[in-house]
């Protein structure tokens, strides 16, 4: 079976490899920035790209459980790395917004977070991710207990939803891309509600 062969092939891959792989988009971005390859307004490109990669990792994280249930491909081992990478990119995204975009205009930053729904949602997503990032280690799982830890980490569903809405609400018209992300998030949440197919419910 293909799923078993994939699982077998992945067995020797250390989870550290995923962290290395996850930093590739950042490395590309830095390389492009240094060589002037980001176009006329590099700040916006960096800001958007960091946010987009964060959202991609969130979607990837949400896909891991359904993937195992429906296909048998087991990537659970890599889920912590995926989540922490999402958090890293989200933090960088915020940092670029505060420093290079808003340039420490704190009054405007505060007003934006309080008044603009898309920024409020984005900020809420990041805040909600923080306890998840802080408890993404074996010690935390042990001290919380697996059940409580699992309940806490269901916050991911909310985070992904907030992040996708954050993207959708910031654009001017109705372009396809943010709708695709929101669609993916909703689909991955819906799949969970449907439950597992019989053959995987062992």
């Amino acid at each position: 079976m293909i799923a078993q062969r994939i699982n077998g092939a992945l067995r020797p891959v250390p989870t550290g490899a995923l962290y290395a792989l996850g930093l590739v988009p950042l490395a590309i971005l830095v390389a492009q920035a240094v060589t002037g390859g980001l176009g006329i307004d590099p700040v916006k490109v960096i800001e958007h790209r960091l946010g987009e990669v964060a959202l991609q990792f969130l979607v990837a994280g949400l896909a891991i459980t359904p993937l195992r249930r429906w296909t048998g491909v087991n990537l659970i081992r890599f889920r912590r790395a995926v989540g922490l990478l999402a958090f890293l990119y989200a933090c960088l995204h915020l940092a670029v917004w505060v420093t290079l975009d808003l340039q420490f205009r704190w009054a405007e930053i505060g007003a934006d977070i309080a008044k603009r729904p898309y920024i409020t949602l984005g900020m809420a997503a990041l805040v909600a991710m923080s306890p998840l990032a802080l408890t993404s280690n074996t010690l935390a799982i042990r001290s919380l207990g697996a059940a409580a830890w699992g309940r806490l980490h269901r916050l991911t569903y909310l985070v992904a939803l907030l992040a996708a809405l954050h993207f959708l609400l910031l654009v001017k018209a109705w372009p396809v891309e943010p709708m695709v992300y929101l669609g993916l998030v909703l689909a991955l949440l819906a799949v969970r509600a449907i439950g597992s197919p019989a053959r995987a419910s062992r």
Partner: protein, 267 residues
Amino acid sequence: GLVGPVSAAGFSTDEKPNTFEEISNYNNFYEFGTDKADPARHARGLTIDPWSVEIGGLVDRPGSYPLDDILKGVALEERIYRLRCVEAWSMVVPWIGFELRTLLDRVGVQPAARFVAFETLMRPDEMPGQRQAILDWPYREGLRLDEALHPLTILATGLYDDPLPKQNGAPLRLVVPWKYGFKSIKSIVKIRLVDQMPQTSWNMANPREYGFYSNVNPAVDHPRWSQASERRIGSGFFAPRIDTLPFNGYADQVASLYAGQDLAVDF
């Protein structure tokens, strides 16, 4: 030349213009895609010769005016204007163009006219963005007649010493420097003088966010973002953020047009 008779008249800013490359590679022209780099990528195939503009409505001499004919009657001049996008970024652009009012005078505006309505070319074959219903095509814009007749309001045909690049709205576009950039409609094929406030594309798409007037106003935020400041494109990572000025810094020239209007209502 950098200093024309217009600079002497005080219409041009002495701020440093953005480069040709910046101005022609960072565009909002959704007919060619929603990414800022899309217009430069996709506008190449646009046919701009022959080009004519249908001028009609409440005018004495309606008709289809070939571009050559329109340009025969005008003196082109340089206007270095600030351009403030509704998305809170800005540039400084050295346009070549002529005052809209010279064209309106020529076609004879009738006394009943109160507004001017403009339309962009509709040609999905050459404008790939029009194959998606991002906006209700063709793109439409409008001005009140007094705004249209204001000497700051120009029709542009050039950029620096070159013809206007297609991604910037060739061969003929409006420039209204005290309003958000989307009011300055590109690649114009229709001008109508009318007695009612015309429909405008962004207002049709989202009336809560984009008003008919859309004067640059730091005190009236876009519902989704602040308009208090803007980033001046062109300095890479350190493009400075600057305070946005009422009427984009042209208040001395145009604020009187809106005397008695509440600009938070007529946004």
